[in-house]
């Protein structure tokens, strides 16, 4: 310890520590139900339903024969994320394992575990952002884009990926004619008629610019100003625990529409900040969604001390996140990391509607 350090022990106190460790929010993922499996592949099985009406028959004749169409199964190999850090770069590592610390104590162990744990949490946050981005891409584009694997295209219908077009955008030029409530009604009609949605409540997630533009449209303002007919109930924004900001409810045709925004961003590979919810679009979902965030198993190296042929082998381990560590003897590093293999699946692929409302 230097003299300067010794002096600081008596003259200086550390009163607070702030680490810029932003925990990722999960508003878009909250529409997906988590499931884990102990296999490398995951699949969803979808059977289309109909809304046909029974037709009466004459007594004494044959009834109407019903044939049930086969279901379709989609098998997906989820992308795997594998992020690790070099634990030897942590100060606490030398404190625990380094020279002069040959007898690790409980306090040095706790310090090391605390330090490594917080760094692994950073890694986990990074992977969680990848899942949030998957959810965003599935909901807004219908295509999950991967860097090293093939893109996963859920083949959404054109009717659920609508560009309103320059003549109907919620722009200043169209302020007198654009009708956001009619656009929400169209979304509800698609979800009801094509997506076979049950219930009359929609969750609509708008980009920030789209929300601001909606409030400026004449027809929306006129509907809001109606006396004794309360079709628009917008109040101050209220943020929920997963980051969604609720602005209120409006009526659109037969549907009650909950209006949300999600002002959450991520940093892309170029270092630029990007929105999870595009500024110029809105997304409409039924109140009860049928989407899955499916986690497949990830590989782990297992030691086989009793196996005479092999010392170790690779097995698939179930779990959302599987931690591993190993010592690289050539590089002399102690690496710790997390593996996770999840995929955001639009199980009920027609129960999502996206529209571009601004250029």
């Amino acid at each position: 310890m230097t003299v300067q350090q010794a002096k600081q022990l008596y003259t200086q106190a550390l009163v607070a520590v702030y680490t810029d460790q932003t925990a990722p929010l999960s508003f878009l993922r909250s529409f997906f139900k988590d499931s884990t499996s102990d296999t490398k592949l995951v699949s969803v099985e979808v059977q289309r339903g109909t809304e046909k009406v029974a037709i009466d028959v004459v007594r004494g004749t044959n009834g109407n024969r019903n044939s049930i169409s086969r279901s379709t199964e989609r098998i997906i190999e989820p992308p795997m994320y594998d992020e690790f850090l070099d634990a030897t770069s942590l100060d606490a590592y030398d404190n625990y394992f380094g020279a002069g610390a040959s007898t690790p104590t409980a306090s040095t162990a706790a310090r090391f575990l605390n330090s490594a744990g917080s760094k692994l949490a950073l890694i986990r946050n990074k992977i969680e952002r990848a899942y949030e981005l998957q959810a965003s891409q599935a909901l807004f584009d219908g295509i999950v884009q991967l860097k090293n694997g093939d893109n996963i295209d859920y083949k959404r219908k054109a009717g659920s990926l609508v560009d309103l077009g320059a003549g109907s955008y919620w722009s200043a030029a169209n302020a007198a004619t654009a009708d956001p409530l009619a656009d929400f009604k169209n979304a509800g009609d698609f979800l009801r008629n094509v997506g076979k949605m049950r219930g009359g409540v929609l969750n609509v997630v708008l980009g920030g610019d789209a929300y601001a533009a909606m409030l400026q449209m004449d027809k929306f303002k006129e509907t809001s100003d109606l006396r004794r007919i309360d079709l628009v109930d917008i109040t101050g924004p209220v943020q929920n625990s997963v980051g969604g900001v609720l602005h209120g409810e409006v009526s659109a045709g037969n549907y009650k529409v909950r209006l949300w925004t999600y002002p959450e961003v991520y940093t892309d590979a170029n270092g630029d900040q990007q929105d999870y919810v595009p500024q110029n679009k809105f997304l409409a979902l039924p109140e009860m969604t049928n989407f899955n965030l499916a986690y497949a198993a990830t590989p782990v190296v297992m030691d086989l001390p009793t196996n005479s042929a092999f010392n170790s082998a690779v097995r698939q381990k179930k779990g959302k996140y599987n931690m591993y560590d190993y010592v690289d003897k050539r590089k002399a590093t102690h690496n710790m990391g997390l593996r996770s293999a999840g995929i955001a699946i639009l199980t009920a692929v027609d129960q999502v509607y996206t529209a571009q409302v601004l250029a």
Binding site: F140, D141, G142, I143, Q145, L146, D150, N151, D153, R156, K157, A158, G159, L161, V162, D163, K281, T354, A355, Q356
Partner: protein, 87 residues
């Protein structure tokens, strides 16, 4: 080669490409055979094959001459007008 305009917000192309509303794509940008399917499903709009720009009509001399004729004048008067002589 057929050209298409993307009508849906996004479509998948060949080689991991993703095209967005308003993009113009050709068959080579898509998985083989996908163009027709996308048109049928409403994701793409088939653009009419680019036409050669129409050749501008060149007025024939006779027509040009006809324009210089004065209405109501006799044929002889018009001929004299063209040659710059008074009657």
């Amino acid at each position: 080669m057929a050209k298409y305009k993307v009508k849906a917000l996004t479509i998948s192309g060949a080689g991991k490409k993703v095209f967005r509303a308003g993009n113009v794509v050709e068959d080579k940008d898509l998985v083989p055979g996908a163009g027709a399917k996308y048109v049928e499903s409403g994701h793409l709009e088939l653009l009419k094959s680019s036409k050669v720009a129409p050749v501008k009509e060149v007025k024939s001399e006779a027509k040009a001459e006809a324009k210089t004729e004065t209405k109501g004048a006799t044929k002889k008067e018009n001929i004299l007008k063209k040659v710059g002589k008074k009657k």
